[in-house]
Amino acid sequence: MSKVSMRVNGRATSGEIEGRTLLVEYLRDTLSLTGTHVGCDTSQCGACVVHVDGQAIKACTMFAAEAEGAEVTTIEGMANADGSLNTIQQAFQDHHGLQCGFCTPGMVMSAAALLKDNPRPSEHEVRQYLEGNICRCTGYHNIVKAILAASGQDVSAIAAE
């Protein structure tokens, strides 16, 4: 066991971990931040996406020890300061971009990373960017629509939500 420290959602954290402890395990088990989900064991599904020093990272693919000293943001840190949904979260609710909610934290974190780099993506770019995020419920229609809407684009021409 060794000690790891990192800032998570603006708060200093530390804990005892094994060398093999994954970042997602540290977040879920040590810090009880259970919003970050685990949907696979091959780094394919994206349910576990968080931001580490501003980069979208699959938290199942990184050891906790590698995040020593890092600034980590999880879904729990995404809402506005007053607790209301941020623009992306709000767009997901407005456009029914989630059903069971299991893929949703990863989707929101990926969408945030996309819009940071590419503030007005095309539909094609959104779909390409979500290559590493699997959703089994929505068929992606409303997720793509929500992300386009969150980027300030007019989605009224896109069929039913």
């Binding site: 094994e18 093999r20 879920r28 088990d29 931040l33 259970t34 919003g35 989900h37 685990v38 949907g39 696979c40 064991d41 091959t42 394919q44 599904c45 349910a47 999880t74 879904i75 729990e76 995404m78 809402a79 949904l85 979260q89 997901f92 609710q93 407005d94 029914h96 989630l98 059903q99 069971c100 909610g101 299991f102 893929c103 949703t104 934290p105 929101v108 539909e123 094609h124 959104v126 779909r127 390409q128 979500l130 290559e131 995020n133 699997i134 959703c135 089994r136 419920c137 929505t138 068929g139 992606y140 229609h141 409303n142 997720i143 793509v144 629509k145 896109i158 069929a159 039913a160 939500e161």
Partner: protein, 814 residues
């Protein structure tokens, strides 16, 4: 103006807030004080006899609490099957024992052999690696047609054969059907595979078992679509725990699609081990484990024949199916290829004579059970593919051929034992032609051509049967359960109320949609209504959510309970306002006396119910809480027409979905936004089945597609935007809401549309390809175009053992 509240409105989903902020509470988020973790050591061979298990080294490893084997469960019931099918000779199906942990033999890759309970999950895994299991490997039974031949190796030594049942439906019609084929003007034959799939809800299964020494009470937290069913099956049939000593909780569940209906060994294990180890025991499935332990879906090999007269009227239909059961009977497995499949074979058409034969077969594979649509996609796929082929063979327009055979008068009794109450198949077809812009197809075809791409158009219809019922009928058909639903409405003194429903929401948005109904009935705001589900400690005995039944059956129970509430509230109001309860009206949350200006607010009456100072105590009990159980008297029959447009790359065989449109008739709609979402998700799963997904076994029974690296899940860039419409509405006539159910339609209606479209594209390009088996991977499509034999890889080998390859573009050896 769209409505902004109540039935027909699309309020934003209230559950979204917690899911979007990371505050959902899924089963894996539950950790109990002192819990231990279990890791299952699973068979890595498909079939074998367990010679010995050496646990000596493992038992002494750090953190190990206890290691369990099949011996520990020798005196305990096996996992029960909830449906007994009677075969065509009147005999019950063959039903093998399904032990919690393998005993004597392992029967599929993933069959659990040992369960290691340890302080941490890593320690449990480490110890499992130190266990040495000596297995005498036996030949694997994989090919369904070979499995039922005389002398075949048996999956279960104590059964007569690998044939679970040979079902004929309707046996008495068989001779007449055969006669009609002899007299037919034209017969179209098609052999096809309905590819084996894995449901893959994004949340893997989890179970946490708990036992309270002080009270002897058990609690199981589990990822289930129907906690009461788990309580009954596990309590009564496996562990012998009376239901009043067992609580089953399914909190937020991350998708189900059928695969979380069934009672699984891991649930029974964690509950049993919690007492045996005197501490909570938790299991979280990894995705790799899910691939080999979640029940799989589909896996039918069928031959369908359609007889027509000279005018193109369907005169008879005959189909033969081999349905894979896997190694054991999962909870509802026997019902899927029979009562959820055979009864749909009439589709939207007035074919007068139909005969369905299904042979269900045991193989050394993971058990197969219901997956979104369950039996209905298999029926629809056969029917809508053979009709398309028949249209081509006889030079008819596929839409016109369908239209001339449509059922147009309702109620309509089919030759396969069901009665459709309502429908308007021309209306959904007309709507489809409009929303899919069929008129613009030729221009799009020409445009594709300029880019060297082959464009194709596929259209089909579907009929669904939701809310399986009534209980006394399904009992005759072999169900060992009732199929009603329940609701308790508990009104609080201050007027807010809680609906405790036996339905379960795992993505369907019940917390938002159900209040829309009750709010409309009483005339109070939706936020005064809370939906509680997923906990046997507070919801009345209910059957859960599957088969698109929540609103049609569970919603109806809720309506009935609310009607009882309103009836009682009116009596209270009548007493207070000194009027007859016949004269009381409830509107907009206010009670009025007809013909007077007297009125009373909803909250005044609810308060009086709990503070009964001025109250008819002689005639009426205080309080305001009612329960209803609703048992429908028929299925509901959603229907619709779907259209897919594809482009095929002639160089690579890659298929791209360019457009997809769905015109559905779901009867009345409570929340259009949620309905659209359900259809989108279903279509994506159907497109996934048609183009991408294949659960593949090799001939030794190794599961080849056991991770997301190998099993192609649909991703965002595999899908187009969908055009969906549900404005054609013929309300259900026999439930109080007139609703039909929308959860499975997309997955039922879409696969034939995709395959029809690809065949159309190839035919337009002059290729004589009449069929390609799903998934239509580039390799298969390219091979079909180039007269080559594709490496079918995943296909059920039984598909290839048939002498007749008529209608198949692929065949021969893999």
């Amino acid at each position: 103006m769209p409505k902004d509240h109540g039935i027909g409105a699309s309020p934003k989903r209230r559950e979204d807030i917690r899911f979007l902020t990371g505050d959902g509470r899924y089963t894996d988020d539950i950790n109990l004080a002192g819990q231990a973790y279990v890791h299952f050591l699973r068979s890595d061979v498909a079939h074998g006899r367990i010679r010995s298990i050496d646990m000596a080294a493992a038992a002494g490893m750090p953190g190990v609490v206890r290691i369990f084997t099949g011996e520990d469960f020798a005196d305990i019931g096996g996992l029960p099957c909830g449906w007994c099918v009677t075969d065509r000779h009147g005999n019950p199906m063959q039903e093998p024992k399904h032990p919690v942990l393998a005993h004597g033999k392992v029967r599929h890759v993933g069959d659990p052999i040992c369960a290691v309970v340890a302080e941490t999950l890593s320690q449990a895994r480490d110890a499992a690696e130190a266990i040495v299991v000596d297995i005498e490997e036996l030949p694997a039974v994989i090919d369904m047609k070979k499995a039922v031949q005389d002398g075949a190796i048996k999956v279960h030594d104590d059964l007569a054969s690998n044939l679970c049942y040979d079902w004929g439906f309707i046996e008495d019609n068989k001779a007449a059907v055969d006669e009609a084929f002899k007299a037919a003007h034209h017969v179209t034959t098609l052999e096809l595979v309905n590819n084996r799939l894995i449901a893959n809800p994004m949340e893997p299964r989890v179970a946490v078992g708990q036992w309270e020494k002080g009270t002897g009470d058990y609690t199981l937290y589990t990822t289930s679509q129907n906690p009461h069913v788990i309580r009954l099956l596990m309590g009564a049939f496996v562990l012998g725990i009376p239901e009043h000593k067992l609580r089953v909780v399914s909190p937020d569940v991350g998708g189900g699609f059928g695969t979380k209906i069934f009672h699984y060994a891991e649930e029974a294990f964690c509950t049993f081990a919690a007492k045996a180890c005197r501490r909570p025991v938790k299991w979280t499935s990894s995705r790799s484990e899910a691939f080999m332990s979640d029940a799989h879906g589909r896996d039918h090999v069928s031959k369908i024949e359609l007889a027509m007269d000279a005018e193109g009227m369907f005169t008879a239909l005959r189909t033969d199916t081999y349905a894979n059961m896997g190694a054991y009977l999962s909870t509802f497995a026997p019902s899927v290829p029979t009562w959820l499949h055979g009864i749909l074979m009439a589709g939207n058409y007035k074919t007068p004579l139909i005969y369905v034969n299904v042979k269900a077969v045991f193989t050394n594979t993971v058990p197969v059970d219901a997956y979104r649509g369950a039996g209905r996609p298999e029926a629809t796929y056969q029917l809508e593919r053979v009709i398309d082929k028949a249209a081509r063979e006889t030079g008819r327009d596929p839409i016109a051929l369908r239209r001339q055979n449509f059922i147009t008068e309702f109620p309509y009794a089919t030759p396969v034992a069901v009665e459709y109450d309502t429908g308007d198949y021309h209306a959904t077809m007309d709507k489809l032609i409009e929303i899919a812009d069929l008129a613009g197809f030729d221009a799009r075809l020409a445009e594709s051509k300029t880019r060297g791409k082959l464009r194709g158009l596929g259209v089909n219809c579907y009929i669904e049967a939701c809310g399986i019922a009534p209980s006394n009928l399904v009992g005759q058909l072999g169900a060992r359960a009732g199929l009603y639903e329940s609701a308790t409405v508990r009104v609080n003194a201050t007027g807010g109320l809680v609906v405790m429903t036996g339905s379960h929401s795992h993505g369907q948005g019940h917390e938002t949609a159900f209040p829309q109904v009750v709010a409309d009935m009483i005339g109070i705001p939706e936020d005064m209504i809370e939906i509680v589900h997923g906990d046997t400690a507070n919801a009345p005995m209910g059957m859960g959510t599957y088969g698109s039944r929540s609103l049609a059956v569970g919603g109806s129970a809720m309506v009935r309970a609310t009607e009882k509430i309103i009836a009682k509230a009116k009596k209270i109001a009548a007493h207070i306002m000194e009027a007859s309860d016949q004269d009381i009206e409830l509107k907009d949350g206010k009670f009025t006396v007809a013909g007077t200006d007297k009125s009373l607010a909803w909250g005044d009456v609810t308060l009086a119910a709990y503070v009964p100072h001025n109250y008819p105590l002689k005639d009426l009990e205080p309080g305001l809480e009612e329960t209803a159980f609703y048992d429908p008297n028929n299925f509901t029959y959603p229907s619709g027409a779907y259209c897919c447009e594809v482009e095929v790359d002639p160089d690579t065989g890659k298929v791209t979905i360019e457009r997809f449109a769905a015109a559905d008739d779901f009867g009345n709609i409570i929340n259009p936004m949620i309905v659209d979402g359900q259809v989108h998700g279903g279509i994506a799963q159907g497109i996934g089945q048609a183009l991408l997904e294949a659960c593949a076994y090799d001939e030794n029974g190794q599961l080849i597609s056991a991770s997301y690296m190998d099993y192609a899940m649909p991703r965002a860039d595999d899908m187009p935007m969908f055009t969906v419409d549900h404005s054609c509405q013929t309300p259900c006539t026999h439930n109080p809401l007139g609703v039909k159910g929308c959860g499975e339609a997309g997955a039922i209606g879409s696969p034939p549309a995709v395959v029809n479209a690809v065949c159309d594209a190839l035919q337009r390009a002059g290729k004589n390809v009449t069929h390609i088996d799903m998934p239509l991977s580039p390799a298969r499509v390219w091979a079909a175009m180039n007269d080559a034999t594709a490496n079918e890889g995943a296909a059920q080998p039984a598909a290839r053992s048939s002498g007749s390859a008529e209608g198949r573009s692929l065949g021969g050896q893999a």
